[in-house]
């Protein structure tokens, strides 16, 4: 192989690598026509034999695997005071969102339906209060609390105040039990 063709090969490889630098798309506006289809009259949640699960929606994967959608959902979770009942996913007055139990289904479509219609015992309906796009973003975040999404989709830092210590490069100081000064109450 001549040096010139070797150079071309290297250049081609670099170009191929550059193609991977494309960021995911931020669909800031949503898709107006399809989103509007979520409307309709409010359904009764009292149905014989349990609620009929909503049909699978092609948008679910789009929102769930989109870092922008998950991060916007995280902001909305704070702004719309979801933490007021669900805490930061751990649950309180409302059920926890971090575990594997879903009273009304854990698929994206089912979570959106719960946000849209509201559920008994306190979950309000957000229809008309949030846009469908925002509900999908919220659902993407709620899913990410328990569904172990791809690493690159997750937000790098939490927006909420955290009680846990921030990660630090400094190693922790060791407590020596044999030293009397290290045990509480023994110092004069």
């Amino acid at each position: 192989m001549s040096s010139r063709s070797r150079t071309s090969c290297v250049l081609l490889a670099v170009l191929a690598l550059l193609a991977g630098c494309d960021r995911e798309e931020r669909r800031s506006r949503g898709t107006p026509l399809a989103e509007a289809a979520l409307g309709g009259p409010p359904e009764s949640i009292l149905q014989p034999g349990g609620a009929v699960p909503p049909p699978p929606d092609a948008r679910a994967a789009d929102f769930e695997e989109n870092a922008y959608a998950v991060s916007r959902g995280q902001q909305l979770f704070q702004q719309m005071n979801c933490s007021g009942c669900h805490a930061h996913g751990g649950g309180g007055m409302g059920p926890p969102l971090m575990d594997d139990q879903w009273r009304y289904g854990g698929r994206m479509e089912q979570i959106v339906a719960s946000i849209d219609q509201g559920r008994p015992n306190g979950m309000p309906s957000w229809r008309g209060k949030l846009t469908p796009q925002q509900m999908w973003q919220l659902a993407a975040y709620v899913r990410s609390l328990s569904a172990q999404p791809r690493e690159d989709v997750l937000s790098g830092r939490s927006d909420s105040e955290s009680a846990t210590e921030p990660p630090t490069l400094r190693s922790r100081e060791r407590v020596i039990p044999s030293s009397p000064a290290g045990v509480q109450g023994t110092t004069p």
Binding site: R29, G30, G128
Partner: protein, 330 residues
């Protein structure tokens, strides 16, 4: 051709030297002091720059002498000492001037000014809250700052998301807004007028469209603005505006925006109580006109892509009603 280009470049550079967003405007004490310092620094460093250039050219033109004489050595020594003295003198002048400017600012601004304003940075707008410590009254507005002339003001700077930076060049003083921290900035406006501030720390896609309208006005005008700002929103006047009111109160708008005197009390987006009395919308992105209001409400993501206001999808009648209501919020 080259001369024309150079002239054009110079014109552009000079165009930045005046107007509503200029450091040389000197509308605040800090701005004037900074401007004076800048002139002094330019003069001193420019003088020494010219001196060095003249020396270099002289060294190239004058023929070096081959023999070293005692007189020559002496002249070189004197020249060196003069140079050293000049540099020391220049540096001393700059240091003293900086110190004096700093003291002047400190002397003119009290440690606890009576007027306190909290400015919170958001992607990509400014949340402004005036608090009257005596009466406990609070005035919340967005993307505008009204300041009485000659009254020192303390700005409390916070951020809700990323690092921003508050900078009104005419007033002088630039301070970052850092999430989880509270920064202070004391300013003393000295000249009435309309100025523009700009976020000075890259904060995301619409960083360039994060401006704040600053109005420095006489105390009476400020009091009038303050009294008008405390009043609740004007109720809708005609049937169209009433329909808009209904939509704003019952739909997505009220989830994020506050309109004082109405049920709308969301704290996520800018306060809209006296929206129509502001000079611009979208943090200085568009002038406050009917057309721009229409464009903004119809499709916020088309007007300022990436901002946090979602596309709501109003139909034509709803849009007309909502804009009619918003226009009445004087």
């Amino acid at each position: 051709m080259t001369r024309g280009l150079r002239g054009l470049g110079l014109t552009f550079a000079l165009a930045g030297c005046h107007g509503t967003q200029s450091m040389t405007e000197g509308a605040g004490l800090q701005g004037v002091q900074f401007s004076n310092l800048f002139t002094l620094f330019s003069a001193v460093t420019g003088f020494f720059y010219l001196l060095v250039i003249v020396g270099l050219i002289g060294g190239l033109i004058l023929r070096p002498r081959e023999d070293r004489t005692a007189e020559g050595e002496k002249a070189a020594g004197v020249g060196f000492m003069t140079w050293l003295g000049g540099v020391l003198l220049g540096l001393t002048a700059l240091t003293v001037a900086s110190y004096v400017a700093d003291r002047n600012v400190a002397a003119a601004t009290p440690a606890h000014p009576t007027l306190e304003v909290q400015v919170t940075g958001n992607q990509w707008w400014w949340d402004v809250t005036y608090r009257n410590a005596d009466t406990g009254q609070e005035l919340r507005t967005a993307n505008e700052l009204h300041l009485p002339v000659g009254v020192p003001v303390r700005l409390t700077l916070k951020s809700n998301d990323v690092i921003h930076s508050f900078w009104v060049p005419a007033l002088g003083g630039k301070q970052d807004l850092i999430p989880g921290r509270t920064n202070m900035l004391t300013l003393l406006p000295t000249q009435t007028g309309i100025y523009r501030g700009q976020c000075a720390e890259f904060c995301g896609a619409q960083h360039a469209h994060m401006a704040i309208d600053v109005t420095i006005e006489p105390r009476d005008a400020f009091r009038r603005w303050w009294a008008a700002g405390l009043a609740p929103a004007v109720p809708p006047a005609n049937p169209l505006a009433k329909a808009g009111y209904q939509f704003v109160m019952t739909r997505q708008c009220a989830s994020c925006h506050t309109i004082s005197g109405t049920p709308a009390s969301g704290r996520v987006g800018p306060d809209l109580t006296h929206l129509a009395s502001r000079r611009s919308i979208g943090a200085g992105t568009f002038p406050m006109t009917r057309g721009h209001l229409f464009a903004w409400v119809a499709d916020p993501q088309g007007a300022k892509r990436g901002n946090q206001m979602p596309y709501v999808g109003l139909d034509a009648d709803q849009l007309r009603a909502v804009v009619a209501y918003l226009e009445g919020l004087k």
